[in-house]
Structure formats: C-alpha cells, structure tokens
C-alpha cells in the first residue's frame, strides 16, 4: 500500500518537476534579447569615403564607435606620460585597403564619458577627468586605466561590420590588444 503511494507521489513529483523545468526554460527564453534586438546589433559602415584625420562616430549597440583614418604622421603634440610615439605604427590599428583605421568604442575607459578628437593635436581628450588617448586609442594621460576598447568587427572589402568577429579581430584579441 505504502509502496503504491510512494510510487504515485514520486511520479507526481517527477511530472511536476519536468513541468517546472520546462516553465523555467520558457521564462529564461522570454528574458533573452529579441531577434529584432539581436539583428540591430550589427552595424555596417563603408569606410571607402572616409577622409584622413577626420573622426566619424557611428552608433553600434547604443554606444558610439569612433572610426578614424589615421594619417601617416599621427604623433601627438604632447604626451604627459611620455608615450609620444607615432600612432600610425600602433599594432591596434586596422588595415582596410591601403589605409590604417582606428576602430574603437568611443567611451573613456575611466568612467564612460565620450572623449573629443582634436585633429591638430592628433589626440583624444576626455572632458570629464582629463584623460587623453592618441590616435590609436592608447592612453597618453591617466585616469583611464586602459586603451579605448576595440569592438568585434569584420572586414568585407571596404566595409566594416561591427558586431561580428572577423579573422583580423580574432588576431587582435589573441594578442590581447582589443581592450
């Protein structure tokens, strides 16, 4: 008798457990980003018409992305931390065609303000706490703890697809240069 009750109890518990698991999965999926949100997570930018030393800001996943065709001489006028080398030689720059580009999320790595590009000085200055970056996004002056972050990208001809990890991005990532 008690065996039968135990069996019925266990069976009920097992079925209810399965149902609960299924409901949990459905709840999890309901919280997932919607397909439309995910589709909007990719931004395609054509860089063929970009002018040298002019900063372009694109929106990608709600964040500004800096795109800068770096001139051959991209030495900053002054570097408070002494790192005033020519940013054109920086390995973080991305080669598209015959040009080198800075592609980076335009948020200061200190507290997320948006730095401004000063073309004549060849550097970014953040108005919030005075952080500075060179044309390759490397820090020239604290407080930012790290260079501007490079978003996932893929190069197709002269087009840049933000949000997708292409071979060039994976290579930079492997070298630890993206963040």
């Amino acid at each position: 008798m008690s065996d039968r009750r135990d069996f019925i109890g266990t069976a009920l518990g097992a079925f209810a457990g399965l149902g609960a698991l299924g409901a949990l999965y459905a709840a999890k999926r309901t919280w997932d980003p919607l397909p439309s949100v995910k589709a909007a997570g990719f931004t395609t930018v054509d860089v063929s018409k970009a002018e040298e030393n002019v900063l372009y800001t694109e929106m990608w996943r709600g964040k500004p992305v800096f795109i800068l065709k770096v001139p051959k001489d991209a030495k900053p006028d002054e570097a408070p931390n002494g790192r005033d080398e020519n940013a054109y030689e920086d390995p973080r720059l991305i080669k598209i065609g015959n040009d080198k580009f800075l592609v980076a999320i335009g948020l200061c790595t200190h507290l997320g303000c948006i730095p401004e590009y000063f073309a004549a000085n060849k550097k970014f200055i953040c108005a919030c706490h005075g952080g500075q970056f060179n044309a390759a996004g490397e820090v020239l002056k604290a407080p930012p703890p790290s260079p501007l972050v490079i978003p996932p990208f893929k190069i197709v001809g002269t087009q840049l697809i933000l949000g997708e990890e292409g071979p060039e991005y994976k290579q930079l990532k492997a070298q630890g240069l993206v963040a």
Binding site: W31, D32, P33, L34, V37, G41, M59, R61, G62, K63, P64, L107, L111, G112, C113, I114, C128, H129
Partner: protein, 410 residues
C-alpha cells in the same frame, strides 16, 4: 460538521465566530501575542517599517495609473503628466521618493538595533535571516524603481549596476545582455524592471514580511537586557490581573498604543520631508532624460547603497567585485559568526562593544566617502575603511569566542 446556530443573525458576532473563529484569531494574533515590557522606542521600528511599506504601496498605486513604461514616454509621463497634470500627482511622487529613501534609514536603525541587543542569537536566527532577505529584496525594489523615470541617472545607474554581472575578468557579457534583454538598457530592460518593480518584487516582499512575522512568533521579541522570559508564565500573571508583576504586555492594545505614538512622531518627520525637503530624494541629474551618448560626470548611487559602493571602488576590478560581493552577503552570516552565547546589549559585551561601534562608524564613514570623488586623501581613506569593514567581519568569530559569560540579566 461543525455546529451552526440556525438563529444566529447573519454577520452578527456569533454568526461570524462560527464561520471564521474571529475571537480565536483576534486572541492569537493580537490580544494574546505577548511583548516584553522591558523595551524602548527602537522596538517600534518594525511597525514604522510596515507602515512605510504601506505608504509606498499606496502612493505607488496612484503613480501606476499614469506611468508609461516606454523609453520614449516614461520620462514625460513622470515629469510632465504626473508632476504637472495629475491632481496631487506631485504628492504621490514625493511620498514615494521620500519613503523609498527613509525606509532604508529605518531598516538600518532596525538592523543595528538587532545587532546591538543580540536579537539574532540562538532561536532568533531566522528572524535575522528573513530580515536580511527583506533588505536585499528592498534593495532590488529600490533599484528597479530608480530605473522607471528613465532619466540620466536611471539609465547610467542601470548600465553600471547591470555591468557588475559581467563578473570582472570572467567577462560574462552574455549574462549582462540577458539581464538587459539588449546590448544596452533599452525597451526590453525598462519593461522587465517595470514588471519587477510593480509586481514580482512587491509580492516577494509581502511574502517575506509575513515570514518575518512568523519567525518572531515562537522566540518572541528580544528585550533590553537579553533576558530569557518565560512568556507563558508571565502571560498567566497578566491574565490573572497581576499586570504590574507581569514582565509582558499584550501586543494589542498595550504595545500597539506605544507603536502608534512612535508612528505619530515619525510621521511628523516624514511629512516634513515630503512637503518641505523632498529634493534630497530626487537627484537633479535624473531630471535630464536618458541619453545613451552622454554619461553624467559623476555616477553615484542613492545614499543607502553608498557604503557598499565605496567598498567596491578603492580596489582594482576583480578584488573590488569580490569585496563588494562579500559586503552584500556577510550580514546574513551574523548569527553564526558571533560565537558568544551571550544575549546582552553590546555595551555589556567586551570587546564586542568596540566591534559594534567600529562597524557603525565604519559604515557611516564609507557612506560619506562614497559620495565624495575618488581623489587624493579620499581614496586613501576609502581603502582604509573598506579594509576595516572586511577585517571586522573576519575578526568577529575570534573576538566573540573569547567573550566572558555575562548572563542575561544585569
């Protein structure tokens, strides 16, 4: 079947008693629920909290009628519709904002009262733990509510706090994106935090409050001397008319009348804030609509989260997160970290007395530093006080283990 008197007038006392046992209910829940006499006004904080939660619920119901959980309309629905068009809309908003802030002040007083008098000791562990669960749920409720006006501080606080879930170097961006339902806070984010704020979390809070009351029933509330009272025997004295001799009083009407007095004083303070000083609960930066392309220069949480924010801040990324996690959960373990069997006020328990005041001063200092920019001497002080917090908790089992027995009564 039970006996039902066919002659009982419908809805008369007898009629109700036969169907609902209202006399028994009243006796069990109020007139024979015993409270020690030896307590002070700090024992009224529970009722103050319950009433403040009631005010939040009530004002929230009115706000809910006009609030629109849409990223394009939320800001105006609060700052224009509710504040300027709805009759007395400003009143509900100011009550809601002030109560959300003040409720944490009372929670902290309630918590430190419990710590001071040892009201988490053997038999009362579940009171403490359910109270801590309430604290965490209230924190989530406050945070989710803060998102709703969709101002600059809402947006960026949402960004920063959800970013914590990337777990530092683990870079769990998938978890952050899952919580947000988007890469950045957007419509999906606002919708789900709206749901959490107005339905799921309030339901959990109400359930936890009932549980919190339940955990109190058998061990009863503590008293000013940590004395172990035989509640049954003392209750008998009261019922036999020996009211002076009895160490207990019934919850209703005796203790409740004292609660109501404290509530009266509290309401003077509360409505003074609502009518004359509500600005403290409304950050001016949040009167700018959310702008994903412009970060406010200083992002700081509301005052009640500052101490744990300050524990996060002075450390590098990963250790900071670990310290922050430590600060969030460590209070739960208080009943087990305090190894002393003494149930007595902190001033009679040395060196616990020093521990208590150091912890209180440390948390006040962390709160003040959390509001100041992290530069120069503030960074140094922040680091010292954050370490002090951690060291105090690690030291607690050792210093309480060596504590001398002081006995319940003075």
């Amino acid at each position: 079947m039970a006996h039902f008197d066919p002659n009982a007038r419908p809805f008369s006392h007898k009629w109700l008693n036969e169907r609902l046992a209202i006399d028994t209910l009243k006796r069990v829940l109020s007139t024979e629920y015993w409270i020690p006499k030896n307590i002070n006004f700090l024992w009224a904080m529970g009722m103050v909290l319950a009433v403040t939660f009631g005010l939040l619920l009530l004002s929230g119901i009115f706000l809910l009628m006009y609030y629109i959980p849409d990223t394009k309309q939320a800001f105006d629905s609060v700052n224009y519709t509710i504040m300027q068009e709805v009759g007395f809309g400003w009143l509900w908003r100011h009550i809601h904002a002030v109560a959300a802030s003040v409720v944490f002040l009372i929670i902290y007083i309630h918590m430190f009262t419990g710590i001071y008098y040892g009201s988490y000791k053997r038999g009362r562990e579940l009171i403490w733990i359910s109270g801590m669960l309430l604290f965490v749920t209230f924190s989530a409720e406050a945070f989710s509510g803060y998102m709703l006006p969709w101002g600059q501080m809402s947006y960026w606080a949402g960004m920063v706090i959800t970013n914590l879930f990337s777990m530092g170097s683990l870079e769990w961006n998938w978890l952050v994106e899952w919580i947000r339902g988007d890469y950045v806070p957007g419509q999906a984010f606002l919708g789900r935090f709206f749901m959490l704020h107005v339905l799921l979390l309030p339901l959990v809070i109400i359930g936890l409050i009932i549980f919190h009351f339940g955990t109190l029933r058998i061990p009863h509330v503590n008293n000013q001397d940590g004395e172990e009272i035989d509640f049954e025997a003392e209750a008998e004295k009261w019922k036999a008319g020996k009211r002076k001799e009895a160490k207990v009083i019934p919850f209703n009407p005796v203790f409740l009348s004292k609660d109501v007095f404290v509530l009266g004083v509290y309401f003077i303070f509360f409505f003074y804030l609502v009518f004359y000083h509500y600005q403290f609960a409304m950050d001016p930066i949040n009167f700018d609509p959310a702008d994903p392309l412009k970060t406010p220069p200083h992002i700081y949480p509301e005052w009640y989260f500052l101490w744990s924010y300050e524990i996060l801040r002075p450390f590098p990324k990963d250790p900071g997160l670990i310290a922050f996690g430590f600060a969030q959960v460590i209070f739960f373990f208080l009943p087990f970290l305090d190894r002393s069997p003494n149930v007595a006020p902190a001033n009679r328990r040395r060196p616990f007395r020093c521990w208590f005041w150091l912890l209180l001063i440390d948390m006040v200092a962390l709160t003040i530093l959390g509001k100041l920019p992290p530069v120069g001497i503030y960074t140094t002080l922040g680091t010292i006080f954050a370490w002090l917090f951690i060291i105090l908790w690690i030291a607690l089992p050792f210093i309480t283990k060596r504590e001398k027995l002081v006995g319940g009564k003075k």
